[in-house]
């Protein structure tokens, strides 16, 4: 089997890999922001919910969360009268990854938020800004800039974790590699997986480059 054949075959799974990666990362970030918000509330119930979810999210293997998402979540939906049997596998993959990593994202945003000096709030209120604008214009942009190096690391962890979606039968790059290895009776297995590893590495380099470009452009410190 030629190298170009292997690359072509594996790359046919790239759109699925990228779609799941980007979508689950965005949803996980939204969950993370919500968890951060809960953890910063004064009432004990909100704090406790954030703490329990974060603990579960960080303590459960992502593979297990994916399997639960695919096999058990539709059953759960069935109890409330929602038939999810025909829903796309991508939905459950994205949901599983987003839920599985939401706790990490919450902690990442919370630590960035706590890094912002109180005087930034004082100064913003002192010029007459309302609470919403203070968050929108001053605090959240600073929080993202502080969190950016960790967001980058987390994004690359997502990239690698996205290969786990093969267990629920989604044709991503990893799934294509295992299928190709099986078709060739394992003869080209090592070659195929080395190419797969190199492809993931190249994708990582591309994202690293894009992140660094963004960080450089938005660096004010």
């Amino acid at each position: 089997m030629s190298l170009s054949e292997i690359i072509k075959n594996l790359l046919s799974g790239l759109p699925n890999t990228l779609f799941i990666l980007v979508t689950s990362f965005i949803i996980s970030s939204i969950i993370g922001l919500f968890v951060m918000w809960l953890s910063l509330q004064k009432d004990k119930i909100s704090k406790a919910i954030a703490k329990i979810y974060t603990g579960l999210s960080r303590g459960t293997p992502p593979l297990l969360v994916l399997l639960l998402s695919y096999y058990e979540f539709p059953r759960l939906l069935g109890f409330v009268g929602i038939d999810a049997n025909d829903w796309s596998k991508n939905f459950f993959a994205i949901f599983g990854l987003a839920i599985g990593f939401g706790g990490y994202m919450g902690e990442l945003f919370r630590s960035a938020y706590n890094d912002i000096d109180d005087s930034q709030f004082d100064a913003a209120y002192a010029v007459g800004m309302n609470k919403r604008d203070v968050l929108k214009v001053i605090i959240i942009p600073q929080m993202f800039t502080i969190a950016l190096p960790n967001i980058q690391t987390m994004f690359l962890s997502f990239l690698k974790a996205s290969s786990l979606v093969y267990v629920i039968g989604i044709a991503d790059m990893y799934r294509n590699a295992t299928t190709l290895a099986n078709v060739s009776q394992g003869v080209y297995q090592l070659k195929i997986f080395i190419v797969l590893g190199l492809l993931y590495w190249v994708i990582t380099l591309v994202f690293e480059f894009l992140f660094n470009l963004y960080i450089k452009k938005h660096n004010y410190s």
């Binding site: 000096d117 005087s119 004082d122 010029v127 007459g128 309302n130 214009v137 600073q142 004010y220 410190s221």
Partner: protein, 248 residues
């Protein structure tokens, strides 16, 4: 003419009294220097005036409006801050904004001016403090003195009735103090009403027409710089001034 009147301002934190029945009346154009030992409640006093901290009780009258400080609506809070600006000890410039944007942000989001109008005012203010050439610099690219001058420009751009200065020179290197002091002195000469918390007694004497001595959350004594600084009658103030001049 009375511009700002504070009556019976009280603030406690965790059952510890920080401000004990503070009363103050300020006329238009007054420059009030607030001196006193560390921990006496000077900064808390300023933060309670523009409601960065919320007083337990008291009233504040400004511009024909009287506010019960124990129950201030969000709307009144925003209104008050448009009339009382603040300059911070550690500059507190918005780290994610350039010098220029630090000034326009307050004008756009605080005073609701349009961007063009805000830009025009910001340019004028930057010119005023000789910082126009640094307009696109972020705070991290500026020296302490330059940051504080932007902090002053940010406050004056709002055209407030009163500016509160919280130890504006204490975080600066000694050689940078002069320019900031000159800027504040110029504001005083222009008739800007100010309350300045400071440890620099010579600075207090230079700019203020009234000095108040704070101790244990209350005004121990108030009077002209001559009365409080040159000829203090109170032993506690004498002791404080001696200690300050010894430290120098």
């Amino acid at each position: 003419m009375t511009l700002l009147k504070i009556d019976h301002l009280k603030k406690s934190f965790n059952k510890k009294t920080i401000l004990e029945d503070v009363n103050l009346e300020i006329n238009k154009g007054d420059v009030i220097a607030v001196i006193g030992p560390s921990g006496s409640g000077k900064t808390t006093f300023l933060k309670n005036i523009n409601l960065l901290e919320h007083p337990d009780s008291g009233t504040l009258s400004i511009e024909d409006k009287k506010l019960d400080l124990s129950h201030v609506s969000t709307q009144d809070e925003l209104w008050l801050r448009r009339h009382i600006a603040m300059v911070f000890q550690n500059y507190a410039l918005f780290k994610n904004k350039t010098a220029f944007e630090n000034i326009t942000t307050g004008l756009i989001y605080g005073k609701h001016l349009d961007k063009k109008e805000a830009a025009k005012i910001a340019e004028e203010e930057l010119k005023q403090v000789n910082m126009l050439d640094k307009k696109d610099f972020y705070p991290s690219q500026l020296s302490g003195g330059q940051q504080q001058r932007i902090g002053i420009a940010r406050a004056t751009a709002l055209k407030p009735s009163v500016i509160l200065f919280d130890e504006p020179t204490s975080a600066l290197d000694p050689e940078l103090v002069g320019t900031v002091v000159d800027d504040i002195d110029q504001l005083a000469k222009n008739g800007q009403t100010m309350i300045v918390v400071t440890h620099l007694i010579s600075f207090a004497k230079r700019i203020a027409n009234k000095v108040i001595f704070f101790e244990d959350g209350e005004i121990l004594s108030a009077g002209t710089p001559e009365e409080i600084i040159d000829n203090p009658k109170n032993d506690r103030i004498k002791k404080f001034l001696e200690a300050v001049s010894r430290d120098k």
